[in-house]
Amino acid sequence: MTQFLQLDFAPLLCAILAGATCGLLGSFLVLRREALLGDAITHAVLPGIVLGFAVTGARAGLPMLLGAGAAALLAAWLISHLRRVARLEGGAATGIVFTSFFAAGLVLLETSGARSVDLDVDCVLFGQMETLLWPQAMGPGALLDPVALGGLPPAVFLLAGVGAAIALAVALLWQPLKLLCFDADFAQSLGLRVRWLDMALHLMLAAAAVAAFEAVGSILVVALLVAPAAAMRLITNRYTPQVLGGAALGAAVAALGYGLAGPLPAALGSGHAVSAAGMIGVLSGLVVAGAAMAGRWRHG
């Protein structure tokens, strides 16, 4: 038990929080047919994260969130601007903007001095779930001990805070978001501020991307954003199950993926743990494939 708390509790919690948060937001992306914006924003936040890191010299939550939020809004604005000014189709404009942001982020990472044991290319590409340890946990009592809980990795608090804020925002904007996704023109004709709603959605995506970044890296965030929502899209045609089910499925995939990657092989006596972030991503792809096959079977 103590060993589980010290080694597995924090990463498992992070995985579940990241899966639930991204799974919740993913439905809005998929329903708005803007799944690639999720891809774009998760890549585009990198320079913001690195700059936030360079300014404070530590992996502090708030500066990284601010930097990432600014980068995400700028990227989203640039994509829509390029579509108009350069008359590029959405996919091409997205491809140009996010690769440029990501490339700039990589170079900043190498040149700004932000590169350190805390933040390096490997973290961007693979996440650092395995490094989230909780050495203060001396037994089950630690779960109730404020001092020991304070020793949890900062990533846990960042994810919990961001996840709670996003859940609250989605709940408060429940009806407008539904309208936005189904018929943005009609929403605007009703007087809803569609542009503000869009911006709120982009900021939530950026926050989720930053918070989940430490757990699974910036590429695999895409899996958690798109896959649970896409799987729900295949098995339900009701709105509430789509959105809430996406969150639940994201959390389940994350927990199961983490278990399959490390603890399960260990429990079976094999010493070889594999990348937990990778396992979560693979599992989320399998869930979509399974849902597609189930749907095909159901519809004949």
């Binding site: 329903l31 408060l172 189904f182 009609f186 709105y239």
Partner: protein, 241 residues
């Protein structure tokens, strides 16, 4: 009070004008916007509603759109949305009630009842919980009409409410429109089928990038005006019927 008054409205797509200096006073009653493809009919509605950038102004009931928002309803083209969206017919109609109520959680019962009543008005109350993707094209159009009704607006701007529906649906929609007009509402509808204009509408705007003519159907829906609007060579377009 004029429901909608458009002054010097122009819309440009890049360099190309889609609408040039349109001024038009919308009369009370049932009005058709008529013109060839690309004449800017939908663009006129969208610009008036502030959905696309434009020059000039549109005043609703003598005031700005924001001040008159609750009195203005909109029915977009059916093709403009994803009919595979996870929503029931009642969900879609309920969306019209969003500005009247709180934003979080489920819609209050009172609002859902209003949405249900609008569905009943178009004869779809039995299908309220049916996913919209399983409705026929005509039923989808009636769901859109019900959503427009549920706005309880005094002026309804409709983008092709009769496009691609079967004859029964068309009769049903026309019945609802005429009932609305009798109740004192004003309706502006983009319309494609020239032959049916005199049977349905009281007023017409002939549009082709600019205003060709506006007035009662008897005044403006004449062969000469139609040639001015569509250009010559329209004789076999069903007009003779």
């Amino acid at each position: 009070m004029t429901p909608l008054s458009i002054r010097h409205l122009s819309v440009f797509y890049g360099e190309r004008p889609a609408l040039e200096d349109v001024s038009w006073e919308v009369p009370a009653g049932l009005t058709a916007i008529i013109g060839p493809n690309g004449a800017g009919k939908s663009t006129l509605l969208k610009a008036a509603l502030g959905l696309i950038g434009h020059q000039g102004e549109a005043r609703f009931f003598g005031t700005t759109l924001d001040a008159a928002r609750a009195r203005v309803g909109y029915l977009p083209q059916r093709a403009s949305v994803d009919w595979d969206f996870p929503a029931s017919a009642l969900d879609v109609v309920s969306m019209a009630r969003t500005p009247r109520t709180r934003w979080w959680g489920r819609l209050p019962r009172r609002e859902r009842d209003a949405a249900r009543a609008a569905l009943a008005e178009v004869g779809l109350d039995a299908l309220a919980d049916r996913p919209i993707g399983q409705l026929s094209g005509g039923q989808q159009q009636r769901v859109f009409l019900a959503r427009c009704l549920a706005q309880e607006a005094d002026l309804l701007l409709m983008d092709e409410p009769l496009a691609a529906v079967d004859a029964a649906t068309e009769r049903e929609i026309i019945r609802v429109l005429q009932k609305l007009v009798q109740a004192g509402k004003s309706i502006v509808a983009v319309h494609h089928d020239l032959a049916s204009v005199p049977h349905i509408f009281q007023h017409a705007l002939m549009l082709n990038g600019r205003v060709i003519a506006a007035g009662t159907v008897a005044e403006v829906f004449t062969p000469a005006m139609i040639v001015d609007t569509y250009g010559p060579g329209l004789s076999d377009d069903g007009l003779a019927a």
